[in-house]
């Protein structure tokens, strides 16, 4: 059995974010990138499944700029057997829908029986791509999985739902997104770091998977981007309750213009 893990390279959340000179993008020059933490859980679950003798191969798949290779190497050092890398710098103009189209197209030729992904990427928090991929591949999915058990051709999983857990059994092929708590992702060991450089990274272009940049363009224009204001007004309002409410409304309306 072949397991695919969807992986995204994201800025380290400990980074200090700055808005670029165009006021429409995040400045990326000094950002450190890591594998999205929920994807680490996805990869760990895949590796454990293979180690338990229930799968033959684990590969990671990602789409992104050339620099994403660094994160791919980390995944290979953790224990993935190989990687599929859809490389196209125009990918930066895509969004969840486009990314899902790219991944699904690349996955079709691989035909994995089982797909894991993090429940969301920690940069845009969209929680859309894996589910869209499942829909495009026409396979069932379960999100926010906290426990996973593979039996003959079916998977028994637990999902977090409001106020409880939801247990479900699904036939493979299927896609699952992982939540914290499902496992503890391992650190790459030094011997595996050294093996990683010999593992295959299969590079694909959009053309290879039958797509063009126009097909996956986001269709969204960002007008402006700004960081939340950090300074406080530090205004103490005087008077009785009615007076203070009146003053507060006037501040919100006239000074802050939020009402």
């Amino acid at each position: 059995m072949k397991i695919a893990v969807l992986m995204k390279r994201v800025p380290d959340t400990a980074s200090v974010f700055k808005i670029g000179a165009d006021n429409k993008s995040v400045e990326t020059d000094n950002l450190k990138y890591v594998m999205s933490p929920y994807d680490e859980h996805a990869l760990e679950e895949a590796i454990q499944t293979k180690e338990a003798g229930k799968a033959d191969e684990v590969f990671v798949i990602t789409v992104g700029p050339d620099a994403a290779k660094e994160t791919i190497r980390t995944a290979l050092a953790m224990g993935a057997d190989r990687a599929v890398f859809v490389k196209d710098d125009a990918a930066s103009d895509t969004n969840c829908k486009g990314t899902a189209m790219i991944l699904a197209a690349a996955l079709k030729t691989e035909a994995p029986e089982l797909i894991f992904a993090g429940k969301q990427a920690v940069d845009d928090d969209a929680s859309q791509v894996p589910e869209r991929v499942a829909e495009l591949l026409d396979i069932p999915h379960a999100s926010v999985v906290t426990s996973f058990e593979l039996n003959d051709g079916t998977a028994l999983v637990e999902r977090e739902i409001e106020g409880g857990h939801y247990k479900m059994e699904m036939a493979l092929p299927a896609l699952f997104t992982t939540q914290k708590g499902i496992n503890t992702p391992r650190y790459p060991t030094l011997p595996n770091i050294m093996k990683a450089k010999k593992k295959e990274i299969k590079e694909l272009t959009f053309a290879d998977i039958g797509l063009s940049a126009a097909d996956v363009a986001s269709g969204v224009t960002i007008e402006e981007m700004a960081l939340p204001r950090q300074d406080r007004l530090n205004k103490i309002l005087d008077g009785d309750n009615d007076e203070r409410v009146a003053q507060l409304l006037s501040v919100l309306r006239e000074e802050e213009k939020v009402l």
């Binding site: 660094e70 980390t74 650190y187 790459p188 060991t189 030094l190 011997p191 050294m194 450089k197």
Partner: protein, 388 residues
């Protein structure tokens, strides 16, 4: 010139740091107080295969070089672990060097895989109370008796013995007076610390509270001849070939502690508001921190150069000594500038900088003093007359 690290070397930095960061400053503050050996920290590194970084692949290691070992120790120190975190890992890298280079196949089979896996810890016993820097004056003696040697004498500043299974010990097998050259007649043994006749007494010290330094007394300790490492009489030379890489490892540690100390100072300078502005806005605060940073970076460049030369089989005595001198100074200056930035809070254990300040001070004394390293540069690089 290519100053870049390879993708693999970059990954070494990132992954080591990730493991080390799981043990935060509070962990080390607590350990500094209780003096408990950081076994769980060491286990984490053992489990991920880091202890065998410089041990050949045939013996369960990764077979990497001094440069990678320097990156490993630098990152451990830069995480704030200090010498308490670096030394246990260091002992799996430096003391095995003569075994790797001069040990018999049997010794390599017996010991190296266990050292790489963390199953076996080593100590290091060279210095004697009456022979410090002048190593040729050591008097601990191993006399041949059948298949054994019988060792009698005393060592001081023997590291890690409280947790080590064996120690790499340098002894005389011929008296100083009897040898043609004073550097001959010394031999290396990998002595079992459970042997009869051994007494170990721990030394209370300024820093590195988790990792012990000891006095070691040997009264007719029988050591099998199979524990002799390399050639009898040439132990000093066997050791010598490992001294340059050790200087580089130590320099990498000093720079790492300097970075950890400096980071604390920078953070405090940004956060601490006095007279309505962060103190880091004052040049009196900013300049010492910026100055310390430049010195750390320059020292680390020399560490990398020395390590690269060594790994490429080129002489690196000059670079290793320069790196040691500059790194020990830069590391201490960085921690001192950070402590000064903290003002009164720098004196409080809660702010962590005092621990790093105490620990990094070691490197101006050990493994050799700044002055002896300068002697090397004066004599062997500048060609001046030997001064001692």
């Amino acid at each position: 010139m290519d100053f870049g690290l390879s993708e693999e070397q970059e990954m070494i930095r990132t992954q080591v740091r990730q493991i080390a960061d799981a043990f935060d400053l509070e962990y080390w503050r607590e350990r500094d107080k209780t003096k408990e050996y950081p076994q769980d920290f060491l286990d984490a590194f053992a489990k991920a295969g880091w202890l065998g970084i410089a041990i050949p692949e045939a013996y369960g290691g990764a077979g990497l070089g001094t440069l990678e070992a320097c990156l490993l120790l630098h990152e451990i120190c830069a995480s704030g672990a200090g010498t308490s975190g670096a030394s246990p890992v260091h002992f799996s890298i430096f003391p095995p060097m003569p075994i790797i280079k001069y040990g018999s196949d049997e010794q390599k089979q017996n010991y190296l895989p266990k050292i790489a896996s963390g199953e076996m810890n080593l100590g290091f016993s060279i210095t004697e109370p009456d022979a410090g820097t002048d190593t040729t004056r050591i008097s601990t003696f191993a006399a041949r008796d059948g298949d054994d040697y019988v060792i009698t004498g005393k060592k001081v500043w023997s590291s890690n013995l409280q947790h080590a299974d064996r120690t790499l010990i340098l002894v005389r097998t011929e008296p100083y007076e009897a040898v043609e050259r004073k550097t001959l007649g010394m031999s290396l043994f990998l002595m079992d610390l459970k042997s009869e006749g051994i007494t170990i007494r721990e030394i209370e010290k300024l820093g590195r509270h988790c990792v012990d330094s000891n006095e070691l007394f040997m009264d007719s300790v029988r050591v099998p001849a199979t524990d002799l490492i390399g050639e009898e009489g040439r132990g000093f030379y066997h050791l010598l070939s490992g001294l340059n890489p050790e200087r580089l490892l130590v320099a990498a540690e000093a720079v790492g502690i300097g970075h950890a100390g400096l980071d604390l100072g920078i953070r405090y300078a940004k956060e601490r508001i006095v007279f309505n502005r962060p103190i880091g806005q004052n040049q009196g605060i900013q300049f010492p921190l910026a100055d310390a940073y430049t010195k750390l970076e320059v020292a680390f460049l020399m560490v990398m150069k020395g390590a690269w030369l060594y790994d490429n089989d080129m002489p690196c005595g000059e670079e290793a000594n320069i790196a040691k001198i500059r790194a020990a100074e830069a590391g201490f200056e960085a921690c001192d500038a950070s402590l000064q930035t903290h003002g009164g809070m720098g004196y409080a254990k809660e702010y962590h900088i005092e621990r790093l300040w105490r620990e990094v001070r070691l490197f101006k004394i050990a493994p050799i003093s700044q002055e002896m390293a300068l002697n090397y540069v004066g004599e062997h690089v500048l060609g001046l007359p030997k001064s001692y």
